[in-house]
Symmetry: D2
């Protein structure tokens, strides 16, 4: 195993932040009641509820797909429809889990930047009460999006407005919620609860945790029977304290924010180096920790001999590079240097 | 949080073995490709395949319910039926996950000791080809059982024989598979593969891991498309290396076995102390790390002020006490002392 | 095709009542809007609502399994459990449809007569609020039962009482509801709505219709979104008028009752003849249109050369004979005569 | 109920062909074993198998949604994806039944004419073997399409070619399969089996039946366990003979074809009258029994006072008019006359 090597493939290729490791070691002390009836869990939940406001209720799950699917199940009927971007993680990266587990139809919207707009979702806001049509019930947005872009609070508010007017909930897939907070310079509450978001998948794994995400219900009408859904959904950890202890540390002294600020900063740094390279075109605004760029195919092939990363769109020769909480300036320099060599070949 | 306190509530109330913590720290080094395409995973899978024989193929998941449900889904159709004991974890402790996710009917069998027999399962081996009836497809047994009892290899072979003769698979829920190996003095292969078991849920969490279980297919006709089922089943870890690194350590120098041997030994020890107490009747043979006993209700109430544990059967005043890899003789002495005091009140 | 031959295999082996055929012919006039927005449907629903009381709301579906499953889905969550007799149609004759489509666990109760009692269901009324356990949500009874027995109004009231006290609904699978009404000498309302039944599968096919059943919600809190469940459940007929026209006729001038009275009477008649035969033991009280009897195996084999019928319990040599709206005294005489011959061989 | 009135709303608003009614009356004779074990069913299935070729195996179900969903379930895994047109019935008119019952993802393709092309489906033919992606498994086309258009045999062959090359099945939703046969002047076999179609939903209801459709598997590798899927899918009729008797008549002396030829002819007739009206633009080629046309909104509103029909696209002011087996020239004249009046207002 290549020691200390850091790629730009994904923020989930990174390791675990040292403070999180420390927290795990500290939590490893004696016995604790399983399934969440322990002090770590109570304290971590309380922290989350503080950050999202008093209406929040939080539950820990194993992973992001689990958070999205079980959370969405709590807000839908099997005959519901969920409106999302064509690029949404729930649509393209969960192997049909929404359809299988929720039974719902996803109504997808093509976008250039991964962001929904009130105008775009209106296209699917029809057929209410028509028994032949899956009934729109949730608008799901990703913050930050799968394309590294960001919703402004005003944009979220506008979407919540249209959703609520039509009797729909607004869901936020926040696998990278901390990166959004860091980029916006806002608290979680300010761009979720205060903007009308009804429930959130709050991610930890991509920002320095080992495993663990939270489903956070902000709308009091949701979540009452969520604990059954979580268990039936295979997302209830027996040794829950080890997820909770991670979140407790994550939310102490703004670790989540420091990690995200650093990761975002490294993305800007990487982007600034790339902008100087004429053969490469950055295709999305760099608003968090992801960079999308068109790179000559030969250079992609050459560079992948040294760094693993994903080709986002084969046809366009577009790649995705992600920075992480542990990305260093040296990593970037090494990468850029290799990239430049690859372009020469 | 009460430091260093150890209860007898459940082996999942225990912490993580120090060697596992060390392994996690060591694995926390640089980046690794996500979703299992890393060296830790390859090595851990290879270890498992060695222990179960060359026909085995192994996949890591988050938890025991996940292992059972996704494994069973790989072996069934929605119109299948799964035969299991009334006390099976899949029947009573998974909040309907088999029905929801697999769509299958569970055909349950009342038992006194949690164990199925060829005679007992024959009751459900009918209706083959009848379109009105869910079609029996899997016999699922727990080794060790939820009542702490154990199948002998000859018993497993007999069940596999009947299952296979009727075109069914034999599944083993091995949340405590290591305790079974320790108690039987046999390798995994000897009481799974060699006895005709077709697939196994191989547990780690209850025996000293932080989280993580494995689905192990022993029958070559199973598992081909399991990776899609795992992902759709929300059980694919992005930072997979941290589950794999735990299993790698677990299976190195017989850590899994040492933990289980100790845990089983502590149960025998605890049982021997209890047998001297006339007010208490042990109700199941102590064949692994669980003790079931009838205790006067008043004593239960008093004892639970000091120790959390589960009342197994309210009507019978029957409790369950579990030992763990970290149980000490002092723990047992303290518990017995408190129990005796409770009985005096 | 053997003309005018009538067996005692099942009331669904019978044909369609001539008045129903006439009603179908009459309804076959011009165009009607599809999916239930037609006058036949409005009138038939209104008839049903009159018969069950003003709280009733009724919806037509294709068949009995469809009525049970979609009705139950409207009253449950996926983490719910449904308590029913081991012999319930939903448990043994629907090929796992409840598990697949509702996602629910069935909690079954062994009975001798197919009838649940408050005492018996209490065994499953626990684990409320425990996230590991499927949450009891519905008690489902069959009226008449699959064993031809009948609940008295007082028995239904008692079950409804226990169900409601524990927050459960009471469902009645009324595939043979008319036979129950005929046998009890009561209106539908008197032994459903007035006894606290929350929703009913009201059968037509087994009592002289060609196809078509109704889901009738009696509890106002149920059924609001049922129309979506029906469509998603593949149970929405496009040419709905042909189901509705059948029900309209069925409920006019008590055709449903006349058919059921006749069928029940023929069962009594058949039973009285059988009681005189010493080799045969009737095993269930003959309370509707079914007779269960232990018959020597050789006689069963011989008789089945002439009449198709079901062996209910191979081990006990127990058979089921059903009478129908079109059974005649001659049919009975012919059958008894053949039966006696079979016994002689 | 308005007698003898015929609209142009839908071919399922029409009644039942007199010969079908006669067949139902004739089938109503004595008892027949339920669930398909009767001579009507055997004969009808044999007719279907003759028409589609010797590889065909046929099963009757209640309705079109049932045929599509249960047929598709037989050909897929829950992690499969089904490629279809955005306008496909399975996508827009089944209230999410595919997602709920199959668990599959629908990958939809925007079209102008409702028809898929090899080029268009290639967009979704990727991600094979990638565990994050639902695995493409079926291409589903409608013949005729929901827009009244028609695939030529060469087009079907080309789609089958691409599907098969990529390991996918080709499914045909033939709710209006007879109209396609009539329009193409070909036997069913020639544009299904001979073109590589793997399974078909063969519709009867929209072409003169009361109820009933067939699932026809043409690929021998499909359908083995379909009978369990049909029952679990709530689509198994107990009095099956009444569906079978309809199909038997339908397929005798080409009734299906006569009905469809007439219906198609009436559509051409209606279209030819409309083409003379300058305010109206026909938007799709009239290749079967449907006409799509842009009509001034005021005229739509006026005309709907007299005739019920569907507005297909509110934004474009586009309506759908369907002819039926019972449409007469007088109906068309009456309709055109009313339409002209509506345009004057």
């Amino acid at each position: 195993m290549k020691s200390e090597f850091r790629s730009f493939a994904s923020d989930n290729n990174s390791g675990v932040h040292p403070r999180i490791i420390e927290a795990l070691i500290k939590a490893n002390n004696g016995h604790a009641i399983g399934y969440g009836d322990d002090d770590y869990t109570r304290k971590a939940i309380s922290k989350i509820e503080t950050l999202f406001g008093p209406s929040a209720s939080a539950y820990f799950v194993f992973n992001g797909t689990g958070a999205n699917i079980t959370g969405l199940l709590a807000a839908t009927y099997s005959f519901s429809a969920i409106i999302c971007s064509e690029t949404a993680h729930i649509n393209v990266d969960e192997c049909g889990a929404p359809e299988k587990f929720i039974g719902c139809k996803l109504l997808t919207i093509p976008t250039t930047d991964g962001k929904l707009t009130p105008e775009a979702i209106k296209r699917h806001l029809h057929g209410f009460g028509d028994q032949h049509h899956a009934q729109p019930r949730v608008v799901s947005i990703s913050q930050t999006t799968e394309l590294g872009t960001l919703y402004k609070p005003s944009e979220i508010k506008a979407l919540a407005g249209v959703a609520h007017q039509n009797g729909l909930f607004l869901h936020m897939d926040g696998a990278r919620l901390s990166n959004a907070a860091a980029s916006l310079g806002l608290s979680f509450k300010e761009f979720t609860t205060d903007c009308g978001v009804d429930f959130v998948s709050f991610g930890g794994t991509k920002n320095g945790l080992m495993y663990g995400e939270a489903v956070v219900f902000l709308n009091k009408s949701l979540g009452d029977s969520y604990k059954f859904i979580r268990k039936q959904g295979m997302q209830l950890a027996s040794k829950m304290r080890y997820i909770s202890a991670q979140f407790l540390e994550f939310l102490t002294d703004d670790l989540y924010l420091q990690n995200a600020l650093h990761s975002n900063k490294m993305a800007k740094e990487l982007a600034s180096r790339i902008q100087g390279i004429p053969e490469i075109t950055i295709t999305q605004p760099v608003e968090s920790n992801g960079i999308f760029a068109i790179v000559p195919p030969a250079a992609i092939e050459e560079l992948r001999k040294h760094y693993f990363f994903y080709v986002w769109d084969e046809d366009k020769s577009e790649v995705r590079w992600m920075t992480s909480f542990d990305t260093t300036l040296e990593d970037i320099e090494g990468f850029i240097s290799q990239l430049k060599q690859a372009l020469k070949k």
